[in-house]
């Protein structure tokens, strides 16, 4: 059984806030849910499935279903870090295909900016995580873990900091048109390289923003989707792939996107060359480069050449990516960038992206997430969406 064509994304909402010291996390989740319902033209009582991840307060669905006053018959709190929400779209489509629910709400929200979070802080998933004793003493952080991936990629394939910088440059070209984006100034390769080194070889402008906020999407079964007055965005295929250290057989230059992407393309029955717009998880520039290779947009090791010279810039490049400015410039709410990847892909397929970055006649898009830590263990998720 396949999820192809079994569900549609009917509502999408990105919270406009980037700093919310005066709001609670539960409130942000609910405001995102309300925004997505208004976008879809649905009511709260239409929701019969609810999906959230580790950013949701308390026991996730139990806290949020109660807070929002939902009456649902299906919940899923799969947590694969920032890629969770792409997994949720796939799981929602599965649940809808099986008749477990008809209208699934997925929410994300958080306030890391107000809470002083930074990617250079040591990361600790708790004493009971089996890897903690073997990693936390070494000061593993988000930044230095991804930096080790970049360093190894440079060693194996000759990738350069200039090539990585082009990813940030492309994101900034898009962010200039987004009034909600945190960083709207167009930057150059030279400016990326001149920004302070954070964790060698990554500079400050290789890193995503830290922002408060959130987002929500609503996935519905086809008949309901067709009854609404919104452009139809169909779920064509999906894949998910956790990748870890393989008992010490570590291979930092391949990500889980190699498996999640292959599964999604097979289910959708399309190939990378067919994709007109791609939302690619951009916690760091190296994250984008690795996923582009592993998804098959170019050969392994050719990512540096693929992203250089503005190839990811809408209007001039071959593969327009993250036309909202992405996590690098626009928004990375709750330190989890998966939701905003879905939302911008939906905007593109509806023809509702900013006119300066809208891909003309966009009918096939991909959204890709990488959650957790690329340098140790991460969850990759890919979804392929089509305009009907």
């Amino acid at each position: 059984m396949s999820i192809k064509g079994k569900a549609f994304i009917v509502g999408a909402f990105e919270h406009p806030t980037r700093k919310a010291p005066d709001k609670s996390v539960a409130q942000l989740h609910a405001e995102c849910a309300r925004g997505a319902l208004l976008d879809a033209g649905l009511n709260k009582d239409d929701i019969d499935g609810y999906f959230c991840a580790g950013d949701a307060p308390g026991l996730g669905p139990l806290a949020m279903v109660d807070y929002m006053g939902l009456r649902v018959r299906h919940v899923d709190s799969t947590d694969t870090g920032g890629s969770s929400y792409l997994v949720h779209v796939a799981h929602a489509a599965q649940a809808i295909a099986l008749g477990k629910c008809n209208v699934a709400l997925i929410t994300l929200a958080g306030r890391p900016r107000s809470e002083g979070s930074s990617g250079t802080q040591p990361r600790n998933y708790g004493a009971s995580a089996p890897d903690t004793a073997f990693e936390v003493p070494y000061g593993i952080s988000t930044a230095n873990g991804y930096a080790m991936v970049a360093k190894r990629h440079m060693h194996e394939f000759g990738t350069t900091s200039e090539q990585l910088a082009w990813i940030k440059v492309a994101a900034s070209h898009h962010a200039q048109h987004n009034p909600d984006a945190m960083l709207r100034e167009v930057v150059t390769v030279e400016e990326v390289l001149a920004s302070p080194l954070i964790a060698d070889p990554l500079h400050r402008l290789d890193c995503c923003v830290v922002s408060d906020g959130g987002g929500a999407v609503i996935v519905a079964q086809p008949e309901i989707a067709k009854s609404l007055r919104r452009p139809l965005v169909k779920v064509l295929g999906a894949g998910e792939a956790p990748k870890g250290q393989h008992g010490g057989k570590i291979d930092l230059t391949t990500s889980g996107a190699a498996w999640s992407g292959a599964a999604a393309f097979a289910e959708a029955g399309v190939a990378p060359r067919d994709i007109q717009y791609a939302s690619i998880y951009d916690s760091f520039t190296i994250t984008v480069l690795m996923q582009l290779e592993d998804l098959g947009f170019c050969k392994k090791g050719d990512g540096g050449r693929f992203v250089a010279d503005g190839n990811l810039i809408a209007g001039s490049g071959k593969l327009p990516f993250n036309t909202d400015g992405g996590g690098l410039c626009n928004n990375h709410p709750a330190n989890r960038g998966g939701m905003t990847k879905i939302i911008e892909a939906v905007r593109q397929l509806r023809g509702e992206a900013h006119p300066k970055v809208q891909v003309p006649g966009c009918t096939l898009a991909l959204a890709q997430g990488t959650g957790g830590q690329l340098g140790s263990r991460h969850g990759s998720a890919t979804i392929i969406l089509a305009r009907e």
Partner: protein, 133 residues
């Protein structure tokens, strides 16, 4: 006083019933890795059930303590004291996370030989780190 501030405080590892013997051995200056007698493969970090074949015929055996640098990164901003995180591929063929100490980060090269040294964490545990051979 000022030189002491240049030393990074090493967080204590959460020791539990399963990993206790790894840190007991480290306190004696020995680096343990997992060895499975069913599939005859080494693994890291060591665990009770082999992550390759799931056999319980595992032994925690002493590594030679030498290896080559697989990747590394020196954190220079947003941290109290700069430090270098790394992955080192041991002679036994498995790769472990570690720190590189007593070496100039600017002169480190992927592929270079390294040897294990131990540094004390905040709770007195010994933590396996690597330095130039």
């Amino acid at each position: 006083m000022s030189t002491q501030q240049l030393e990074r405080k090493i967080p204590a590892p959460p020791i539990n019933a399963e990993n206790q013997r790894f840190f007991d051995a480290a306190k004696q200056g020995r680096l343990l890795i997992g060895l499975c007698h069913a599939c005859e493969k080494y693994h890291f970090y060591p665990r009770t059930l082999c992550p390759f074949c799931f056999s319980d015929r595992t032994e925690w055996t002493e590594a030679a303590g030498t290896g080559i640098l697989y990747s590394f990164s020196t954190s220079v901003r947003g941290v109290p004291v700069p430090y270098t995180i790394a992955y080192v591929t041991l002679d036994e063929g498995i790769t472990m996370m570690t720190n590189i100490v007593d070496a100039d980060p600017a002169k480190l090269e992927i592929g270079q030989r390294l040897k294990v040294v131990f540094r004390e964490a905040e709770d007195g545990s010994n933590i396996a780190m690597f330095t130039n051979l």
